[in-house]
C-alpha cells in the first residue's frame, strides 16, 4: 500500500514509451499498453486486498511553496480509492485488450494506445488523490485524455467539433470546481479532504459558505458526469472509437463526477440545500436522458443517453444520503455499461454501421456478442438477480428513506423507460430480420470477446457483494470507521423491490411487444404526438438553444469589443497624430518666406511678453 503511487505510473510509462518509440513499434504498441495496465490492475487488486484488513494509508510531499504556506501532493488509499483503483484499472485493462482487436489495421495504433495510457494514468491518479488540488489537476488531465481520444479521427469535422465541445463543456464545470475549492481553502485553510471535513465538522465554515462551495464543486461534477444542463457533450463524444466510449464515457471518467461528490460527501451532507440540489439534478437528468434514449436510432447514442441517465441515478443516490448506493451503482454500472459498449463495438465492428434501423436479426450471426449484450441489457434494466437490480434497488430505497418521494417516483419511471429503450435497442439489433442487407458479417476475434465475457460475469455477480439478502459487505466496508458517510445498508420498505422489478419487466414487455412481436405499431408515439416526438427526438433542442444563446452571446461581445478596439483605442491614437501633423502644417505655413513676417512675429512676441508683464505688474 505504501507504493500505491506506482499504480498510475505504469500507464504513464507506457504513454511516454509509445510517444518516443511508437513509430517503430506499430501494432506491437498494443502490448506495451496492455502490459502496463495489467501491471496496475494486479497491483491495485493487491492494494484492495491489503486495504480490506488495514486502515487508510496516506503519504504526502511538498509540491509548491507559496511564502510560508506549502501545498502538498501525495496519495491516499481509503476504501473508496481502493475500490475505484480496481474498477478503473480492470476496465482499462479489458479495454486495452479489446482494442487490440478493434483497432486492428489502423496505422495510428501507437497514438491510440499512447492516449489510452495517458488517460488511464490520469484516471488512476485522480482516484488516489488525497486533496482537492491534486484531484483538480488529474480531473483536468482526464479531460484532456478524453478530448484527445474523442478527436482521435481528427480529419473528421464531426470528431473535431465533438472533441472541442467535450473539452469546453467540461471546462465550464471545472471552473466551478476550481472556484469551489479555492473558496473552501480560504475558509478551511487546506485542500486536504480530511482537514476540510474536520473544519466543516467543528463548524468553522458558515452554512451558506458550505452550500455555496458544495454547489460549486457539484457544478464540476455536473460537467464531468454529463448531468443536465451540461450533458450535451457526452452523446457527441461517441465520435471517438467505441472502446474509448466504453472506458471513458461509460465506466470511468464520467463516473468521476459521482466519485468527486462521493469523496466530498461529508461536505455535501452538511448542507441540506446542496444535497437537495444534487438529488434533484440527478433525478431530473435520469428521467430526462431516459426519455431521449427512447427515440434515438444510433446504437452508441442510445447507450450514451442511458449512461447519462444512470449517472443521474447515482447523483440521486448521493443526494439522498445514499452514499453506499451511489458508489455501489457506480461499480455495477461500470461493469455492465462497459460490457454494453464493448458489445456494441463488436456489433459495429461486424456490420460497419451504427444505425439500428439498418440492423436486425444479428442474434444468429453474432453468437457470442448477442448473449453478452443481452446480459448487459438485463443488468441495466434491473432485472432481478443481475447486478444492476441490487444497486438500483439500493438507490430507490435511499431516495425513499431520505424522504424524496417525488424524486423516488421519477426514478421509478426512469427505470421503466430504461428497461424499455434498452430492450428496444436489443430487439432492433438482434431479433427479427436484417433491415438492410449486410455482407460478411462475422463474429469478433476472441481478443475482443474475452474481455466482454469477463465483464459479463462481473455484470452478473458484482451485485452480490451488497444485497439485502446476503448482507451488505461492500456497504459496511465502505462506511467503516466514518459515520459521516451514513449507514452501510439503509433499510427500506420491501415493496420497493417489487415495484422496481415490476417496472423493469413492464418495460421489457412493452419493448418486446413493440419491436419483437410488433403487436403495437412502432410509430405509436410519433403518429399520435408528432410534436412531442420531434422534441424528444431532437434532444429537447438543448444544443440549438445553447447555440442561440451562449455561443451567439460570446460572438456578440467579441464583435462589440472589436468595435471599441477600432474606434476607441485606435481612433484616439489616430486623432492625436493627426492633431500633431496639422499643428506642424500650420506652423510650416507661417514660415511664409517673408522676412518681415518673421520680424513682426518676433516683435509681437516681445510685445505680448511685455504687455503681460505690464498688466500683471511684474512677476507671475
Amino acid at each position: 500500500m505504501e507504493n500505491a503511487w506506482l499504480i498510475p505510473l505504469f500507464p504513464l510509462v507506457s504513454f511516454l514509451l509509445l510517444l518516443l518509440f511508437g513509430k517503430k513499434l506499430k501494432e506491437a504498441s498494443a502490448f506495451v499498453g496492455i502490459l502496463a495496465t495489467l501491471a496496475s490492475l494486479v497491483y491495485s487488486i493487491l492494494v484492495l486486498l491489503e486495504r480490506l484488513s488495514e486502515p487508510t494509508y496516506k503519504a504526502e510531499t511538498v509540491w509548491l511553496t507559496i511564502g510560508d504556506l506549502q501545498l502538498t501532493a501525495g496519495f491516499e488509499v481509503n476504501q473508496l480509492n481502493a475500490l475505484m483503483l480496481v474498477i478503473v484499472s480492470l476496465v482499462s485493462f479489458l479495454v486495452h485488450t479489446y482494442s487490440k482487436g478493434y483497432m486492428h489495421g489502423d496505422e495510428r495504433i501507437p497514438v491510440f494506445y499512447a492516449y489510452l495510457g495517458l488517460f488511464t494514468f490520469a484516471m488512476l491518479g485522480l482516484v488516489i488523490s488525497p486533496n482537492l488540488l491534486q484531484t483538480y489537476i488529474f480531473w483536468e488531465l482526464v479531460g484532456v485524455g478524453s478530448f484527445l481520444l474523442i478527436g482521435f479521427y481528427f480529419y473528421k469535422e464531426s470528431a473535431k467539433a465533438a472533441a472541442k465541445k467535450a473539452f469546453i463543456m467540461t471546462r465550464i464545470g471545472d471552473v466551478g470546481l476550481l472556484i469551489g475549492m479555492i473558496l473552501l481553502f480560504w475558509q478551511t485553510g487546506s485542500f486536504e479532504y480530511d482537514e476540510i471535513f474536520a473544519a466543516v465538522e467543528e463548524g468553522a465554515v458558515s452554512g451558506t459558505m458550505i452550500t455555496l462551495t458544495a454547489i460549486l464543486i457539484f457544478i464540476g461534477a455536473v460537467g464531468k458526469s454529463g448531468q443536465f444542463p451540461l450533458h450535451t457533450w457526452l452523446p457527441d463524444a461517441m465520435e471517438g472509437p467505441t472502446p474509448v466510449s466504453a472506458l471513458i464515457h461509460a465506466a470511468t471518467m464520467v463516473a468521476a463526477g459521482v466519485y468527486l461528490v462521493a469523496s466530498m460527501f461529508p461536505l455535501f451532507n452538511a448542507s441540506e440545500t446542496a444535497m437537495l440540489t444534487v438529488a434533484i439534478i440527478g433525478a431530473f437528468t435520469a428521467i430526462f436522458a431516459a426519455t431521449i434514449g427512447l427515440v434515438q436510432t444510433d446504437i452508441k447514442r442510445v447507450l450514451a443517453f442511458s449512461t447519462v441517465s444512470q449517472l443521474g441515478y447515482m447523483m440521486l443516490a448521493l443526494g439522498s444520503a445514499g452514499y453506499v448506493a451511489g458508489v455501489f451503482h457506480l461499480m455495477t454500472h461500470a461493469f455492465f455499461k462497459a460490457l454494453l459498449f464493448l458489445a456494441a463495438g463488436s456489433v459495429i465492428h461486424a456490420v460497419h454501421t451504427q444505425d439500428i434501423e439498418k440492423m436486425g436479426g444479428l442474434w444468429k450471426k453474432l453468437t457470442f456478442t448477442g448473449p453478452l449484450f443481452l446480459i448487459g441489457t438485463l443488468a441495466i434494466s434491473g432485472v432481478p438477480l443481475f447486478s444492476g437490480f441490487f444497486s438500483k434497488d439500493e438507490i430507490l430505497i435511499a431516495a425513499w428513506a431520505h424522504g424524496n418521494y417525488g424524486l423516488f417516483w421519477l426514478a421509478v419511471i426512469a427505470a421503466f423507460f430504461t428497461a424499455f429503450y434498452m430492450f428496444r435497442l436489443f430487439f432492433m439489433v438482434f431479433s427479427g430480420e436484417a433491415r438492410s442487407e449486410m455482407k460478411n458479417v462475422h463474429e469478433s476475434p476472441s481478443v475482443m470477446t474475452l474481455p466482454m465475457v469477463v465483464l459479463a460475469v462481473l455484470a452478473v455477480v458484482a451485485g452480490y457483494v451488497n444485497t439485502p439478502w446476503f448482507g451488505s459487505f461492500l456497504g459496511d466496508w465502505l462506511v467503516e470507521g466514518n459515520e459521516a458517510l451514513g449507514h452501510g445498508h439503509i433499510a427500506g420498505p420491501g415493496w420497493i423491490m417489487i415495484v422496481a422489478t415490476a417496472v423493469s419487466l413492464l418495460g421489457i414487455l412493452l419493448a418486446w411487444m413493440m419491436y419483437s412481436k410488433k403487436s403495437i405499431s412502432r410509430d405509436w408515439l410519433s403518429s399520435r404526438a408528432p410534436i412531442v416526438y420531434g422534441i424528444v427526438k431532437n434532444k429537447y433542442y438543448i444544443d440549438e438553444i445553447y447555440n442561440q444563446t451562449v455561443v451567439f452571446g460570446a460572438k456578440a461581445i467579441s464583435l462589440f469589443l472589436r468595435f471599441i478596439e477600432i474606434f476607441l483605442v485606435e481612433g484616439i491614437v489616430k486623432l492625436t497624430t493627426a492633431a500633431v501633423q496639422a499643428l506642424g502644417k500650420t506652423g510650416a505655413k507661417i514660415h511664409s518666406g517673408q522676412v518681415q513676417t518673421y520680424g513682426t512675429i518676433a516683435f509681437v512676441g516681445l510685445a505680448v511678453l511685455m504687455v503681460i508683464f505690464a498688466l500683471t505688474g511684474g512677476y507671475l
Binding site: 509540491w63 509548491l64 504556506l69 480529419y155 472533441a163 471546462r171 476550481l178
Partner: protein, 506 residues
C-alpha cells in the same frame, strides 16, 4: 568561488559575438548563423552557473558589483554622496529567474533565426545587442542604468522589426518605437524625479529613503507625488506589458515581426513591464501600491477578458496569439492586484511561464509558416496529417497556454486566482470566465489549423527537422518541469517575495 565581474561578463558576453560578426564576410551565411548562436551560449552558461550555485547555497549578494560611473553636480555633491550614479549590477531571486529565462529564450530564438532569409550579419549583430539590453535590464540595481539598458532593447527591436519583418514592417516598427518611446519617456520622468529629489538612483537606497520618515532629501517628496509617480510607472510599464488601452502597438509587432523576434518580444520584452511593476512599483512605493490593488485587479480582469474575447474572432493565428498575450498579461495584473504572497508569486510564475509558452508557440508558427506560407486560419487545416509532430507540439503549447495542469500555465493561473479570491472573490469569479474563454479561442484556432480536412498542398510538407527540435524540446521540457514540480521556480523566489511583502507589510 569568486564572482567579481561575473554579472558584467554575463551581460556583455554577447558583445564578443558582435565583434566577431563584424569581421565576418557578409556572404558566409552558415558561418554567421553558427556564430550568432554560439555567441548567445556564454551568457546562457553563466546564467545556469549562477542558478545552480545559488541552489547550491551561494548567496546572491556575492554576485553584486559596484563601480563609480557618473557624478553629477560637482565635488560638493560627491562628498555628500548625492547625485552619484554608480555602475551597479546585482540579482535577487526574481532577477536570477528572469536572467535564466532570457538567456535560454535568446539562444533558442537565435536558433529559430535560421529561418531568416537575408542580411544575417546585421540581423545577428542587432539580435545580440538586444540580448545585452535584456540581460542588463534584469541585473541593473540602479534606475538610470536600468533605463539605459531598457532603451538599448528599443533600438535593435526597431530595426529588427523594420528590416526583417513582413508586409507592414515599417508601420509596425514605428508604432513600436513611438508607443515604447512614450512609455520610456514617462519612465524617465519618474526616474529623474526620484533621482533629483532624493539624490540617489540606487533601487535599494530609494526603497529605504522613501519608506522611512523624514529621511534626508534634496527636495521634498510628498505622498501625492509618490502616488503620481506610481501611476506614471503603471502607465510606463503598462505600455510594455501591455495594459488594455495601450496595446495596439504590440498587435502590429506580433503580426509583422519575424517569428524569432516575436519569441524574444512576447517571451521577454513584454515581461519587462511586469518586472518593472513588481521591482519598482511594489518595491519603491509599497504603501501607494496597496491603494491601487483594486484598480490593478480590475485592469487585469479587463485585459484577460478583452484579450480572450477578441482572440475568439481573429482570422489570423498570429493575431489570436497576440490577443492571447494580452489576455495572459491580464493574469499577471490579477496576481499583482491580489497583492499577497500567492498573487505576486502567481504573477511572477505567469511572467516566466508565458515567456516559455509564447516562445514555443511562436517558434511553431515560424516552423509552420516556413512550410505553408500562411497563418490565416481559413487557409490552414489538417496539418496533423502533414506534420503530426509539429501539430502535436502546437496542441501541447495551446494546452499549456490554456492552463492545463501539469504544465506551467496552470500553476501561475491557479496561484494568481488563488491569491485574488482571498482579497476580492467576486472580481475573481468574474475573471474565471476568462479561463473558459481561453480554452474556447485556443481550441478554435489550434484545431482549425491541425484538425479537420487536410488542405491538398499541405500533404507533402516536411515535419519538424534538425535544428528545429532543440527549441521545441527545451521549451516543452521547461514548461512541463515547472508544471509538474513548480518548486524549482518558487524556491528561488521566496527571498524576493519576502522583501516585497515586508514592504507591503503583508
Amino acid at each position: 568561488m569568486d564572482f567579481n565581474y561575473f554579472l558584467t561578463l554575463l551581460v556583455f558576453s554577447p558583445l564578443l559575438g558582435i565583434l566577431l560578426l563584424a569581421f565576418m564576410p557578409k556572404a558566409n551565411e552558415s558561418g554567421i548563423k553558427m556564430l550568432g548562436v554560439l555567441a548567445t551560449l556564454p551568457s546562457l552558461i553563466l546564467a545556469l552557473i549562477a542558478y545552480f550555485s545559488y541552489r547550491g547555497g551561494n548567496d546572491l549578494a556575492n554576485f553584486s558589483e559596484k563601480f563609480r560611473w557618473i557624478q553629477f553636480g560637482g565635488q560638493g555633491a560627491e562628498q555628500s554622496g548625492m547625485f552619484s550614479v554608480n555602475y551597479e549590477l546585482g540579482i535577487d531571486g526574481f532577477g536570477l529567474v528572469m536572467v535564466v529565462l532570457t538567456a535560454v529564450i535568446a539562444t533558442l530564438a537565435a536558433l529559430a533565426s535560421f529561418h531568416i532569409k537575408k542580411e544575417w550579419k546585421g540581423y545577428y549583430m542587432l539580435f545580440l545587442l538586444l540580448e545585452i539590453g535584456m540581460l542588463g535590464v534584469f541585473t541593473s540595481q540602479n534606475l538610470i542604468l536600468f533605463f539605459l539598458f531598457f532603451e538599448i532593447t528599443l533600438i535593435p527591436m526597431f530595426f529588427l522589426i523594420g528590416k526583417w519583418g513582413y508586409y507592414e514592417k515599417e508601420k509596425a516598427a514605428y508604432s513600436f518605437l513611438i508607443y515604447n518611446g512614450l512609455g520610456s519617456a514617462i519612465l524617465l520622468i519618474v526616474i529623474m524625479v526620484l533621482f533629483s529629489r532624493t539624490g540617489t538612483s540606487n533601487i535599494e537606497m530609494l526603497r529605504m529613503i522613501l519608506n522611512t520618515e523624514n529621511a534626508p532629501l534634496v527636495a521634498p517628496v510628498s505622498e501625492s507625488l509618490k502616488m503620481g509617480l506610481l501611476i506614471a510607472l503603471l502607465v510606463a510599464f503598462g505600455v510594455k506589458l501591455p495594459i488594455f488601452p495601450l496595446h495596439s502597438w504590440m498587435l502590429r509587432v506580433h503580426v509583422e515581426a519575424p517569428p524569432s523576434i516575436v519569441m524574444i518580444h512576447s517571451g521577454i520584452l513584454l515581461k519587462i513591464g511586469a518586472f518593472g511593476l513588481i521591482r519598482f512599483g511594489m518595491g519603491i512605493f509599497p504603501e501607494q501600491f496597496a491603494d491601487l490593488t483594486v484598480l490593478l485587479a480590475v485592469l487585469g480582469v479587463i485585459n484577460l477578458l478583452y484579450g480572450a474575447f477578441l482572440a475568439f474572432i481573429q482570422t489570423d493565428f498570429k493575431m489570436v496569439l497576440a490577443y492571447s498575450s494580452i489576455s495572459h498579461m491580464g493574469i499577471v495584473l490579477i496576481g499583482l492586484g491580489a497583492n499577497n504572497e500567492a498573487g505576486i508569486q502567481g504573477a511572477i510564475f505567469q511572467v516566466v511561464s508565458h515567456g516559455l509558452i509564447s516562445a514555443l508557440l511562436f517558434f511553431l508558427v515560424g516552423v509552420m509558416y516556413e512550410r505553408t506560407h500562411t497563418t490565416t486560419l481559413a487557409n490552414l487545416g489538417g496539418l496533423a496529417k502533414g506534420m503530426p509532430i509539429a501539430s502535436g507540439f502546437l496542441l501541447a503549447g495551446a494546452m499549456a497556454s490554456l492552463g492545463l495542469p501539469g504544465m506551467s500555465g496552470f500553476v501561475s493561473e491557479f496561484m494568481a486566482f488563488f491569491g485574488l479570491f482571498k482579497e476580492m472573490p467576486v472580481l475573481a469569479a468574474v475573471g474565471t470566465l476568462g479561463i473558459i474563454m481561453t480554452a474556447v479561442y485556443l481550441l478554435r484556432a489550434v484545431l482549425a489549423i491541425t484538425y479537420g480536412k487536410a488542405e491538398r498542398e499541405f500533404v507533402g510538407i516536411s515535419d519538424v527537422r534538425s535544428f528545429e527540435w532543440a527549441p521545441i524540446l527545451v521549451l516543452v521540457g521547461l514548461i512541463v518541469l515547472i508544471g509538474v514540480y513548480p518548486n524549482v521556480l518558487s524556491e528561488p523566489l521566496q527571498a524576493t517575495l519576502e522583501t516585497i511583502l515586508m514592504g507591503i507589510g503583508g
